[in-house]
Subunit: 393 residues, 4 copies
């Protein structure tokens, strides 16, 4: 019989809801050693916390995240608030001896991220950072194929992470556009996923040279004030107030040298029209190639030079199914398809098994720091124009 | 606050688990008027029922479905067992005044299906049949586009539903291959979805001419006996026993005349290699066209002749998002993607709202009868070689 | 050194130009035994013939096709005029002992087609009918794969041939809409290709049941008169004259039974928006599947169950290259791509080799009759509602 | 009536044959002011020259290119031999007052390329360099769409040019692997096309930072000696001789800054398995996006934010047709498709019109120098690790 674990969730936006709902669903999909109990939920907007409590059945709601961290019934703290707030909450939770499950990226500054990792290193509790694309069955399967030598020794990695949620110059200014609240722009929101996956597939990244740009230099304020961010739907603008200067990059790109000596590169933008969740990966090896795009997350393309008559060879489109990692938990039939929310369920199953000591958690807060050091190196290179060592080693 | 409703689930296979898990998840995704309580679960294999009870938190487990129907705490009965058993259970549940949620197709014979519909017509309770692809956001959106006249008056409908789960001659004989347990072959398992969607998009089907075939005429028995069906994975065969004769169609196809006068056609097979969940739809209208394939269920292709410069016109690939039906409940961000299990959640939300009187349920058991009469007409036409009226009116 | 052969081309439209130009190009791509000399060109519109003569270097131009047939220097007659005129010209040419290269379909009526075949059967000269998709490297390679057993014994064939050149109700009336000039509508223009390829891949078709429809029942006359047909570009309409009744089918579909017992089906329309040259083929076999679409004529998709680990299996997208039929004549590098005009060059190389006795020509006029009898059977079935024997045996 | 122009072709490999055949075909497709006469062909392997003369009808064949340049009947010299030989021939031809049509890249060294450009600048004759992808209708149409503002001001350009012709470690050593004969590796063979197109779509490139790699460091010699290169088919290896060290890059990538300030990047490799002619382009603008891949050269994907209801918006797949540049010369019907060889025909039509003074030729040898300076800057950056000015201004 599964042991209960008390969970507190901080934040009730897209990711807060995703966490709450996935905590509830996980035990019906996976047979985890721990069963989450939703103890408390916090949101600075207290009515939002109360609504979430009603919707998901949290024991109580609060307007102050410190209540959650202090609650003795809370053993695990989920952090889903804007990036700049992660560090304070995580440090407090670690200090209070709570396991920490934090959304990516770690923090708005390198210093805060370093502090989180140092605290986690010293703490006996478990941590996990929400790089959920690392759980996507197609991506995990790509890792397995590479590890098994199916495409031979890798020789090139290419990543693209493009969305268009900030492509419209009329998309209003929000916390995502500020260094003090978000830190990075597209690098933190999008490229962080790319880099997490690159390291998983290819090993550490040693050096980068990079460039970045703020494409849309200023944005109007929303009618409801700066807080009212929305990824979709109609947003009223307040044209009576001056447009705000955007402080972080819309677009960035980098050339990489992996520690193995392999070459790689990535491009990311939050302003590339028509792309919605285009996390595209290409890995070329001495014997084959792998292609993946999250917009078709239930497919993986594989080319292998060996074992197939050349005239009939081509990229084969593998539909993800129960033969591949995690999928069989959701469906016994190939081609039926998983969705984005299922990735969060897989991630939380891993978290619960990790806390129970059944699996080695990855990426922990210190692991995530190594991922994010690469992003900081990208920014430094964009500023200096030179190749920069990542210290990701 | 939502009112509880007691649920009993009969069957614990793929669909039984999908029902149980979706009943638990629905309230966290939708704000339904009713909240399911899992009262009882039945499986002829009682340990399987007990395992499901533990996994999903059912109040009790039983080896006899009659216990579930008789349980006063059960207000809604979910039927997920093989097709031939649907009618007895549904009739008993209706007689006992329970709402009925039954997997498709209704029954192994036309007579049993007619009896179910007659009983449902006389009963005050609510019924819903599990044609879950009718909830797929892309398909519902296609219906909306057609209804709004975006592609003009429809002039042709084409459906394909191909899988390969019986393509291998070594896939063992199972209840799916028998008329007395399954009734139809690919027509019931696959084409039933096509027909349900065709009617939803295009209105009633008046006449069909059709053909069908058993492609693999006999199959070995599985090592573990006939019951041990599996869609995927390794299955041991028992070559010491004689191969069994397959009794129902692997492949069928039909030309259709809709009541509107529009032409249509479909092909279905459970033996078409490489197809996993290829529910493909094409609708051509006087002003545009729509294409859909469940293997890429988060996309819809649309061509419209008007409003776009001809030289730049082409099918546009719409990534499904919160702008489209139901998706926004799961994610605020387009392109993230839903999965198959999400369709079941949408269906059960509809069921709960229907029982609460907030939505008109579709397809009820009588509605499903009209869908399935078309399949019976297909079989009659395949036997007689003539156009057959469907009585779907 | 290649022997010269005198060529006369009748008709100077799209196909007339394609013939002339391909005759000139063939010797530089293929090493054919015969080298065409362009002797004479005819068009009822004599200035058009004269322009073609200048453009392609024909020895002379005439407004009367009989001049071409009668010219002793003409050894081979190319017929590219509207369908209803094929028979008279072909019969005259055969009578005059000229080899005949005729565009498809043979004629506007079954009777005329039968007469052409009877004359060809009695004549010592060679004939070829322009079913050029049968030369497409991807399609020929599909045939080879089937013949080699790569997908096992075929169990289903599906064809679609959709275009949208008549989808717009404002596309004017033309000879294509009349029975006396065109005979068939989409069946002759489009489905004839499907049937030619179906027979090539799968063998003779024994029986059909079918339906057809005139979707757009009347069309305006063009400003320049009925003759001024154009597939693309702006056409002025003459709204002062009454719209004309369309006499032949926009859309048709059929279920097939091949002589082998295998099932098949096709759909064709000239009114399906967004489709430009969508000649789509699917062949399913006991061990694999093949997919092809002319809109991506340089690709072929293949699934084979054997020899590939199931988890990594999927349709593989074969880029056509020098490993495949005819392609190497045009380019040594795979993926560079052939175009539509190259198919005509391949066809004419075959014609020249056939006349020289180096290859067995296919489809001859009698072969084409067998192809087209299937189309006539489709029409009879659409009229009677019953399965019809094709006499394609 | 078109004026004749005497042509001499030097080299009889893939490109030599493509030139000869296209010279012959051009007048039947385009109405050019000049009509090529094939006067002379040279190949160091004289029997190859003689075979080409027979096949294409050249007036004479020679083993010495100087004969061609010296021939008074030759007015235009086509240079299709390995890169290192271009400069000597081009300089001689320019000196002799012949128009020069030279394959890309200009030369094996920057110095030789500079010398060619200087000579061309001083000469009254016309020059054109064979960057034939710049004639691809889809690419030219992309340029037009950008110029018309359809996607708004460009903000990012991404290029990929991957093939796999050197991916196999057993593909033998050839002149392509040597600095003295080929100069660049993938940069010259593949990325040169990318850069030519990038400049055409986006304007000059001001700065680059780059990296490159020899992935397969040594290769066996072919059985028939170093000269016997083949892109496809079986090649015997001579394992008795030592493997040769490869001298130029298999893979290279770069970040770009266009003179306009826009960011861009490219990756190229001749060792990426499964890619055959993957010249992929992406252009993102403030109002839309364009995607292109030569492996599907008859398609272009376009996203525009304006004028289409957001819920129905997505990348639209434009099938290339007569509405787009040059296509209508080949076919009146969209979707039929052009092939690679048609691009050479379009290029030569441009060449002939340019020599006749009817069109401004692009890229001339001096234009090509500017393209190739970017490649040389890439190499310098790969050596120094720093951003390098291209002098492409």
């Amino acid at each position: 019989m599964a042991t209960p674990i008390g969970v507190g969730v901080i934040g009730t936006g897209f990711m807060g809801a995703a966490h709450a709902q996935s905590f509830l669903t996980v035990p019906h999909i996976f047979e985890t050693a721990l069963t989450p109990r939703l103890v408390a939920v916090a949101d600075i907007n207290k009515p939002a916390a109360e609504a979430a409590a009603r919707r998901f059945g949290f024991g109580r709601a609060t307007g102050d995240w410190k209540d959650v961290v202090a609650d003795p019934a809370v053993e695990l703290v989920s952090i889903t608030v804007p990036n700049a707030l992660h560090a304070d909450i995580a440090l407090a939770a670690l200090k209070a001896g709570k396991h920490v499950y934090c959304e990516k990226p770690l923090a708005a500054t390198a210093e805060a991220a370093e502090a989180m990792a140092a605290a986690a290193d010293k703490s006996p509790v478990k941590t996990l950072v929400g790089y959920n694309y690392m759980r996507s069955p197609g991506i995990v399967y790509a890792r397995d194929l590479i590890a098994q030598g199916v495409i031979g020794e890798p020789i090139y990695w290419r990543g693209v992470c493009d969305e268009d949620y900030m492509a419209d110059a009329d998309t209003p200014f929000s916390w995502r556009c500020r260094r003090d609240t978000a830190g990075f722009g597209a690098l933190g929101d999008l490229a962080s996923h790319l880099v997490s996956v690159a390291r998983m597939l290819m090993g550490p990244i040693a050096r980068v040279v990079a460039d970045q740009k703020i494409v849309i230099s200023e944005r109007p304020l929303p009618g409801g004030g700066e807080a009212a961010e929305k990824r979709s739907g109609e947003v009223k603008l307040d044209r009576t107030r001056p447009a705000q200067r955007v402080e972080n990059e819309d677009t960035a790109h980098a050339l990489l040298q992996f520690a193995s000596g392999v070459m790689g590169s990535f491009v990311t933008s939050r302003a590339h029209w028509g792309r919605k969740a285009h996390l595209g990966l290409e890995v070329f090896g001495r014997k084959g190639s792998i292609l993946f795009d999250h917009e078709r997350m239930n497919e993986l393309q594989l080319f292998t030079k060996d074992g197939i008559d050349g005239a009939t060879n081509g990229f084969r489109n593998i539909l993800i199914g129960p033969e591949h990692p995690s999928y069989g938990r959701f469906s016994p039939a190939r081609g039926h398809g998983l969705g984005f929310n299922d990735l969060k369920i897989i991630e939380i199953a891993h978290l619960l098994q990790g806390i129970a000591g059944r699996e080695a958690l990855y990426p922990t807060i210190p692991d995530a720091l190594r991922i994010e050091r690469i992003l900081h190196a990208v920014v430094r290179s964009a500023e200096t124009g030179a190749w920069v060592d990542t210290n990701d080693l």
